[in-house]
């Protein structure tokens, strides 16, 4: 993080500077909402490899990174995009073909792990998953863990409650903190120093942002400092955590951005289709490589479809959108 000053930069520059091969990355959003897709496509375009990706339920973004072969290790709670793909298709293929190493946690555990990282503690406790294979089965072998200084030596630890049975609790699961090298989030509003305002649910974005060594913010609107400071209660991430701010409208497309646009069901359905077919997926990847910027994707999609997903002012999503 960088304390103060102007952090505005280009997406290409931010990704080139911070998202290196082998870097430990986390991305914000949830399933089909507020994934930092422009940044995801830029990472794919720069052919970054061997990412260690931390995901809770970051559906579309995680699947596209995996599909592009950018990811070698994945710590994850859920790989799905709701109705569009109950299990993300490239994720599924990559695991079944043993192309990536996976460590499974629950959504709460992944969230607590980011929270622990943001709080500067090595672990946080919860009662989830006791008695299950989440505790029994480790995706990363102990030797692998020991070789890597930047992952903890254990998947998790079960501890006897040191306060006897305080809170009717005999045992508790400790999950280790995550401090990603880089977190990328897409928010509705930011200013030049990196103050962020997220509209609607924050998912685990705030914890992911504060846990990271380096935070890249992409935003729909880049506003004056004064604008955001007029309603500080609504700003979830203060600038002291931020390193790079990129203004990139439709930066979450094809996933949704509350109050701005809905997810694009046409894109997501087409993606799910072509993800099943190796050849089609390769030419889909080519289309990403061939684009110079997110703008070109939006031009390709066309004004008509962007108009269809435009959020109603009141509801924050496109009420009339045909989602069948």
């Amino acid at each position: 993080m960088k304390v103060n000053g102007n952090k505005i930069t280009s997406l290409e520059g931010a990704v080139k500077t911070h998202v290196k091969d082998g870097c430990h990355l986390s991305i914000g959003g949830f399933t089909i909402n507020r994934n930092p897709m422009a940044a995801v496509y830029e990472i794919i375009r720069q052919k970054t490899k061997n990412l260690h990706l931390y995901a809770h339920s970051n559906g579309q973004g995680a699947d596209e990174l995996i599909g592009a072969g950018a990811v070698s290790c994945l710590e994850i709670a859920y790989g799905g995009t709701g109705k569009f793909a109950a299990t993300c298709i490239r994720f599924r293929k990559a695991v079944e073909e043993e192309k990536i190493q996976v460590e499974d946690y629950t959504n709460y555990q992944m969230t607590l792990r980011f929270l622990a990282g943001s709080m500067g503690v090595p672990f946080l406790p919860s009662r989830t998953s006791l008695g299950t294979d989440i505790i029994e089965k480790w995706g990363f072998a102990p030797e692998f863990r020991n070789q890597q200084p930047n992952i903890p030596n254990k998947k998790l630890v079960v501890l006897e409650n040191p306060f006897d049975d305080w809170c009717d609790t005999k045992k508790i699961v400790l999950v280790p903190a995550i401090n990603p090298d880089v977190t990328i989030i897409h928010v509705q509003k930011a200013d030049y120093r990196g103050n962020c305002r997220i509209d609607g649910l924050t998912f685990a974005d705030v914890e992911q942002a504060k846990a990271a060594r380096t935070l890249i913010i992409t935003c729909e609107e880049l506003l004056d400092d004064d604008y955001l400071k007029n309603q500080p209660d609504r700003n979830q991430i203060p600038f002291i955590h931020a390193d790079a701010v990129v203004h990139i409208p439709y930066g979450a497309y094809p996933t949704a951005c509350y109050k701005y646009y809905d997810y694009d069901p046409v894109f997501l359905k087409q993606y799910a289709e072509l993800a099943k077919n190796e050849e089609k997926y390769q030419s889909y990847l080519e289309s990403i490589y061939n684009r110079k910027s997110h703008r070109e994707l939006l031009d390709f999609v066309g004004r008509g479809r962007l108009e269809m997903i435009k959020a109603d002012k009141n509801r924050g999503y496109a009420a009339k959108l045909d989602r069948r």
């Binding site: 949830f30 399933t31 089909i32 909402n33 339920s57 559906g59 709670a77 859920y78 790989g79 799905g80 995009t81 709701g82 109705k83 569009f84 109950a86 299990t87 994720f91 599924r92 695991v95 079944e96 043993e98 499974d104 629950t106 959504n107 709460y108 555990q109 969230t111 607590l112 929270l115 919860s126 009662r127 989830t128 998953s129 006791l130 008695g131 299950t132 294979d133 989440i134 089965k137 995706g139 009717d168 609790t169 005999k170 045992k171 508790i172 609607g200 649910l201 924050t202 998912f203 685990a204 914890e207 949704a256 809905d262 997810y263 509801r315 924050g316 999503y317 009420a319 989602r323 069948r324």
Partner: protein, 253 residues
């Protein structure tokens, strides 16, 4: 009355929800069941999502728990931390009923939504826990949707993602889990419950036109069917509310 199996399942699950329940729901039919309960038999129940929205207006059916439709006119828009804390919280958690689905289930209501085959070299990979294991760990009771198939009702799960009663009475306590556990399994042929003593699944009801034997044929393990009764199909009122209020665009039904 003409109705589909999906409608039957949604209504059967909805009937299990009471006023004063806080309903955790996922996507698809589980969301539909929660909405059906709120619109039909439990208007005071509260729907909430693991992503952090509580008591959303739900004018339009969400297609994922990350759908922006759940953010509109909720009582509070938080995040994952708030929602799971609400489940684990002793005062709110005891009011929560979870609705879950899975790829495999065993006789104690344990669920697999992770892999088929070896964990390290799986034949089939599924989405993984998401919030399911958290819900199954924390909340006071849960309702499970399953397809009635032999490969899904298993003697032994390939991976235990979400805890039911683990290996029997007292097992949750011994493992360190809060009380709670599954209360109903709603399938496309009937509904199971769990014996209060043995914690084993038993057949509680079957749909009109289905026999207990047919259900047994579609399970790997044997369950008690002596307590089973035919389940009343959806009423006209239930169906019309389900169709018109919950899913008018037939996104799930």
């Amino acid at each position: 009355m003409d109705y589909t199996l999906k409608e039957m399942m949604a209504i059967v699950a909805a009937r299990e929800i009471r006023n004063d329940d806080i309903v955790f729901c996922g996507t698809g039919i589980s969301m539909l069941a929660a909405m059906a309960a709120k619109n039909i038999n439990a208007p005071e129940s509260v729907i909430f999502f693991e992503t952090g929205a509580i008591d959303s207006k739900l004018e339009d059916l969400p297609l994922a728990v990350g759908d922006p439709r759940i953010m509109y006119q909720s009582s509070s828009n938080g995040g994952l931390l708030e929602s799971f804390a609400t489940m684990q919280n002793p005062f709110t958690g005891s009011h929560i009923v979870g609705i879950l689905g899975a790829a495999q289930i065993d006789i104690y209501g344990n669920l697999n939504s992770t892999v088929i085959g070896d964990y390290h070299a799986p034949d089939v990979r599924f989405s993984g826990s998401g919030g399911a294991c958290d819900v199954a760990s924390f909340v006071s009771r849960s309702i499970i949707f399953m397809k009635q198939e032999k490969r899904k009702f298993k003697n032994k799960l390939d991976y235990l993602t979400s805890p039911g009663y683990l290996d029997g009475p007292e097992a949750r306590k011994k493992a360190g889990l809060p009380e709670g556990g599954p209360v109903s399994v709603v399938t496309d042929m009937g509904m199971m419950a769990f014996d209060s003593e043995s914690k084993k699944m038993f057949l509680k009801g079957y749909y009109p036109g289905i026999t207990p034997e047919e259900i047994l044929q579609n399970m790997e393990f044997e369950i008690d069917v002596t307590r089973a009764e035919e389940i009343t199909p959806p009423s006209a009122n239930e169906l019309s509310l389900l169709r018109e209020k919950c899913d008018p665009h037939r996104l799930i039904l």
